[in-house]
Structure formats: structure tokens, C-alpha cells
């Protein structure tokens, strides 16, 4: 036990401690034991690797974008190339990183353990969804090497159907396949959460991480098919030219927007909700307190999921939708902002009268709270239809969703990776350098994206390869920030890989956390628990944990 007063980390005695011989990593060896595995933890690792790979491709593209925007002219690359770069950046980051990031890695790894189950309900489907993801990913890579696509990730018709001659079909197929990958993941989670909970694990004893994944899964299952059909229609329109989105043949291009955003707006909640789940866990653990207003937070997740289906047309305010539906959608958009506000305040008040320590996951969580608050509030600028007219389709939008997606989701993802790293690998990451990385990321992020709010206010349109010179200075700041941000993202790769071999042995429960996943060895056994656990206490019940420790001490002594 470390008696250090400013950390809760308590590691076993490093001289005697060993990684357990029997664990899900050591169980079988050989490449096939991974490629054919049904083990949710191994699949999670597979996802983690592939997602990181695509994240860095997307990141590289982002770097290119920022470089191009250093100067007002499009001098680094031709406008065509630039269009392809930002399209691929969008497609990769959204469909191959953000949507699966937390659910497919952390969710996959943790949900069964948090519920005290041996595995997800449908292990084969789980593996299948990884393969689908990989197929999607490979298709995207193919698109890139065979000339890319320049429709923007939104595939706006009729541009995508009749006016570009790039690989729209391959990309469409990629998105279609990746979409089914996330459908199956979500389906798997819902079934698991309903049917695989261990004895005593009632709905209101589940960690909030599980709640938020439940909400996100609902969106995945019900939303994604609509994207699928929209993509199919685009493909048909493009190949056999049936005119369903072609005004000259009597079609309506806005119909595509409806179908597309019916998925793609809920998609942002698919991306952010799991992140919120992570934050609930870390905030509670590092302030040694039950989450303030557990039920409120739980239900706000579900509320977001439900309202998330009613707001899609706020992406079309200036596209000539009916003013009456503008009213409805704008109002509902305002409503959906409320649950997020609730969450933020509940997390804040979880700190109140806690006993707070500042390990890396907590730093990232603070980062999340700050940036997500900004991201959410700027969302209100756009939900209010009047200001939307001025701000939409400018860099304000870009800054807004990067604050939510990168500042929110990516911070949460990193928080989660650091938080559960010891559980996944059995070893600690190096604390000091990772704290540094967290701070660097935070600074770099703000420097990158805050200037873009001002650019948006000034009216700089998004997706511009060349821009009027007066916008340059802010763009230079943004690019400078991006460089720092890049460093902030490279650091974890390095030290986490390092820690795989040299990290300290973590022991079962380095954070003194209460979740069931911490009550078993790390890395866990293939079937997670030696005996099926029985949930006999509320979530985040730290007294219970202390009693457990007391018992152990007694039994040892």
C-alpha cells in the first residue's frame, strides 16, 4: 500500500508481484487464436489496434489540411486534392474511429465484466462485427489509394450522384459495411445488458458506463439502417440513374438529407454517449464518491437517446425545409441540450465533498468537462435557427463539432484507455509523462480549435482550400495548435507501448474502484470471473469496498 497522500493508486509489492499466469492473453497463442476468438476482451484488443491505426491515418490527413490552410492560396495541394483529403478525414474519423472508438474497445472489454457476465451474448456476432469493420476499413483504404473521393463525408446529393467522378461507390460500400458492424455491436450490447446481468445486478446497480452504452446502442440499432438505405439509394441513383434524388427527373435532393441526417444526427450521440459513460466512472473513482444523482445521469442518457431521434432536420435549416418543421426541430434541439447540461452539473457536484486525486484519467476527464461544455453551448448557437443562418456552414460548425467529438469523445477515450489500461494489460502506464501528455493535449486542442470559432463568426466558410487573406493569422494559430495536439496524441502511443513490458504490475484494483471489473484479476481470465459474482451492493459504493478490504486484511492476518 502506498501511503502517498495525493494519489489513490495502491500497487502490490513490485518485488513479489507477478502478472497472473492464467489470463485471457496467455490462454491461447498464435495468430488464429486471435482471428477466430469469441472472447470479447480479445476482440476489444483487436478493435483497439485497428482503431488506433485508422485514427493515425485520419490524423495525418488532418495534418495535411492544417498545413494547406497555413496560407490563403491553395499552394500545398490542388483544390481537388484538398477536397479529397478532408473527405477522407471525415469518413475515416467518423465511421472508422469515433463511432466504434469507446463502444467497440472499452465497451466490448468492460460491459460483460461490469455486468458480471462471462462474455457478450453473441460472441460470434461480435467477431463478425470486427471483420465487417475491417472490410469497411480496407475499402476506405482502397478508395484512398485508387484516387479518393471528394463528396465530403455527407455525400450531399446531387453532387455525389451526378457531379463527381470519384470513388463514391467504394466509399458508400465502406460506410454501408462499417454501419452494419456498429449495428451488430449495438445489438450485442442491448441483448447482453438485458439478458446477461449476474444475480443481484438490477438496472439501478449497473455502472453509468453501461447505461450510456445502452442508450448509444439503441441509437446504433435504430438509426444506422436508415443510413444504409440512403447510401444504397445514392449508389442506385449513381449507377442506374433512377432520379430519386434528381430534381430534373422529379426527385427531391432534400429527401436524401432527411434520410442521411436521420442517422447522422443520432450518430453524434452514438459518438458522445459512451464517452460520457467513461467520465462518470473516472470522476466517481477519483473523487471516491458515488456519482451525484445517479438516476438523473442514467436517465439523461436515455433521454438523449430518445430525443436524439427528433432533431435531425436542424442540419437543414437553411436548405429550404418547411418553416413549421424548422420550428419543431429547433425546439426539440433546445430540449435535447438539457440532459447534457444535467450531466455536466451532476459530474461537477460529484466532486463536492469528495476526496479528489489527479491521476491522468482524472486530468483527461477535467479536459472533457471543459471542452464538452464549450462544445455543447456552441451547439445552442446553431440550434437557435436565427443565429444558425449566420454560423452554419462556417468554421464555427467545424470548431463546434470538433469540441464535442475531439475535445469530448477523444478526451474521454484517452481517459478510459488510461483508466482501464491496468485492467487490460495488468501493468500501469507511467504516471508523470502521461499527465504531461494530458496537459499538452488540452493546450494543443484549445489552440487548434478556439481560433476556428472566431473564424466562423467572421464568416470563413468550411471546406475551403483557399480563403481570403485576412483569415490567415487565426489559421496559422490553428495549425500551430494542431502540431502541439499531434505531439499530445503521439506520446500515449509511445509510453503505453513501453508500459506493456516495463510498466509496474498493477494488481487487481490499482484505483480502489468499485466496479465488478476491478474485483477480478488483471488481466482477467477468459471467462472473466472464477465464480459468477453476486452483486450485493449499489454502484459506486465505496463503503462496501472498504469493508471488503477490511475482510481481506482480517483473513490474511
Amino acid at each position: 500500500m502506498s501511503t502517498n497522500s495525493n494519489t489513490i493508486v495502491s500497487l502490490p509489492d513490485q518485488r513479489t508481484a507477478r502478472i497472473p499466469k492464467m489470463n485471457f492473453l496467455s490462454k491461447e497463442n498464435g495468430i488464429l487464436s486471435w482471428l477466430l476468438t469469441g472472447d470479447h476482451k480479445r476482440i476489444a484488443i483487436l478493435y483497439l489496434i485497428s482503431i488506433t491505426f485508422f485514427f493515425f491515418i485520419g490524423g495525418a490527413l488532418a495534418g495535411l489540411i492544417r498545413l494547406e490552410l497555413l496560407t490563403p492560396q491553395s499552394d500545398l495541394m490542388a483544390t481537388d486534392t484538398y477536397n479529397k483529403v478532408f473527405t477522407m478525414h471525415g469518413v475515416i474519423m467518423i465511421f472508422l474511429f469515433l463511432v466504434p472508438s469507446v463502444p467497440a474497445t472499452l465497451g466490448n472489454f468492460l460491459i460483460p465484466m461490469m455486468l458480471g457476465a462471462k462474455d457478450l451474448a453473441l460472441p460470434k456476432i461480435n467477431l463478425l462485427s470486427w471483420y465487417l469493420y475491417m472490410v469497411g476499413g480496407i475499402l476506405v483504404i482502397t478508395t484512398m489509394v485508387t484516387g479518393g473521393v471528394d463528396t465530403g463525408w455527407t455525400f450531399t446529393t446531387p453532387l455525389s450522384t451526378h457531379y463527381v467522378n470519384t470513388n463514391v461507390l467504394t466509399t458508400g460500400l465502406a460506410v454501408f459495411v462499417a454501419g452494419f458492424s456498429s449495428i451488430f455491436t449495438g445489438l450485442n450490447f442491448i441483448v447482453t445488458i438485458h439478458k446477461m446481468r449476474c444475480p443481484g445486478m438490477t438496472w439501478f446497480r449497473m455502472p453509468l458506463f453501461v447505461w450510456s452504452h445502452y442508450a448509444a446502442s439503441i441509437l446504433m440499432v435504430l438509426g444506422t439502417p436508415v443510413l444504409a438505405i440512403a447510401i444504397v439509394l445514392v449508389a442506385l441513383e449513381r449507377t442506374v440513374n433512377i432520379g430519386i434524388f434528381d430534381p430534373t427527373k422529379g426527385g427531391d435532393p432534400l429527401l436524401f438529407q432527411h434520410l442521411f441526417w436521420f442517422y447522422s444526427h443520432p450518430a453524434v450521440y452514438i459518438m458522445i454517449l459512451p464517452g460520457m459513460g467513461v467520465i462518470s466512472e473516472t470522476i466517481s473513482t477519483f473523487s471516491r464518491k458515488r456519482v451525484f444523482g445517479y438516476t438523473a445521469v442514467a436517465f439523461s442518457s436515455v433521454a438523449i437517446a430518445v430525443f436524439g431521434f427528433f432533431v435531425w432536420a436542424h442540419h437543414m435549416f437553411i436548405m429550404g425545409i418547411s418553416n413549421y418543421s424548422m420550428l419543431v426541430f429547433s425546439l426539440l434541439t433546445m430540449l435535447v441540450a438539457v440532459p447534457s447540461a444535467i450531466k455536466i452539473f451532476n459530474w461537477t457536484f460529484t466532486l463536492y465533498k469528495g476526496s479528489i486525486t489527479f491521476e491522468t484519467p482524472m486530468l483527461y476527464s477535467f479536459g472533457f468537462m471543459g471542452l464538452f461544455t464549450i462544445g455543447g453551448l456552441t451547439g445552442v448557437f446553431l440550434g437557435s435557427s436565427g443565429t444558425d443562418i449566420h454560423l452554419t456552414e462556417t468554421y464555427f460548425i467545424v470548431a463546434h463539432f470538433h469540441f464535442v467529438m475531439v475535445g469530448g469523445m477523444l478526451m474521454a477515450f484517452l481517459a478510459g484507455i488510461h483508466f482501464w489500461w491496468p485492467k487490460m494489460t495488468g501493468r500501469m502506464y507511467p504516471e508523470k509523462i502521461s499527465q504531461l501528455a494530458a496537459v499538452v493535449t488540452f493546450i494543443g486542442f484549445n489552440l487548434t480549435f478556439f481560433p476556428q470559432f472566431i473564424l466562423g463568426m467572421l464568416g470563413m466558410p468550411r471546406r475551403y482550400a483557399a480563403y481570403p487573406p485576412e483569415f490567415q493569422v487565426l489559421n496559422v494559430f490553428s495549425t500551430a495548435g494542431a502540431t502541439i495536439l499531434g505531439v499530445g496524441y503521439l506520446l500515449p502511443i509511445l509510453y503505453l507501448t513501453w508500459s506493456l513490458k516495463y510498466g509496474e504490475i498493477a494488481g487487481d484494483n490499482p484505483w480502489q474502484a468499485t466496479g465488478l471489473e476491478w474485483q477480478t484479476q488483471s488481466p482477467p481470465l477468459t471467462e472473466n470471473f472464477a465464480v459468477t459474482p453476486i452483486m450485493d451492493h449499489e454502484a459506486y459504493d465505496y463503503e462496501w469496498l472498504d469493508q471488503q478490504k477490511a475482510k481481506e486484511v482480517a483473513s490474511v492476518g
Partner: protein, 113 residues
């Protein structure tokens, strides 16, 4: 969406051997009969001039048929609350998609602002 709690409760006794219901064939036979008759009915109805009501009747009969299939062939009538909720959720979202999209198209004609 607050239903999950009920399942939480009901889920516990799911484990305690929730006995699987076997629908007797006679039920299937009757439903089968109804479906065929309704098919005949809807085809017949389509030959009668009812103006506005032709589509309404056709859809109504369709809904009845679908309900019969869902309730008996798919056995929702005898299945858990959870299954019922699932079906409900599906219909709900389906309606949201169609309803709110059509609402936009219908209201575009009103007023010219």
C-alpha cells in the same frame, strides 16, 4: 423509455425457468384462415370506388393482417414484456421517420415565408 426497470425486475424471474409457451396448431390454422380471407377482402375492396377511403381501407386491412402475424405467428401475444416493448420501439421509430419527414413536405405548402 423508462421501461427497462420493469425488465430489471421481470428479468430476474426470466431466469427462474420462464416456461416456453407452445401455440396449439389450431390457432395457427385459424389465423391462416383469417389472413387468406383478409387478403380476399382487401383485393375485393380495391375494386370498389371509395374515393379517399380506398387507401385507408387497404392500409387498415394490412395493419390487421400484420398484427395477426405478429401476435400469433410470431407469438408476441405470449412473449415477455421486453419483446412487446421491442416491437413497440420499432414501430415508434418507424413512425418518427415517416411522420416527421412527411410533416416537412406537407407543411412546405403552407404560407410562403
Amino acid at each position: 423509455m423508462s421501461e427497462p426497470i420493469q425488465h430489471g425486475v421481470e428479468h430476474e424471474n426470466d431466469h427462474g425457468g420462464h416456461e416456453h409457451h407452445v401455440t396449439p396448431p389450431i390457432v395457427y390454422l385459424v389465423i391462416f384462415g383469417c389472413l387468406l380471407t383478409l387478403t380476399g377482402l382487401t383485393v375485393g375492396a380495391s375494386y370498389i370506388e371509395m374515393g379517399v377511403f380506398n387507401p385507408i381501407v387497404a392500409i387498415a386491412i394490412g395493419v390487421v393482417k400484420a398484427t395477426l402475424v405478429v401476435l400469433f405467428f410470431m407469438g408476441v401475444k405470449y412473449s415477455t414484456k421486453l419483446t412487446k416493448l421491442t416491437v413497440g420501439a420499432g414501430l415508434f421509430t418507424f413512425m418518427v421517420l415517416i411522420g416527421m419527414t412527411l410533416a416537412d413536405y406537407f407543411t412546405r405548402a403552407w404560407g410562403r415565408w
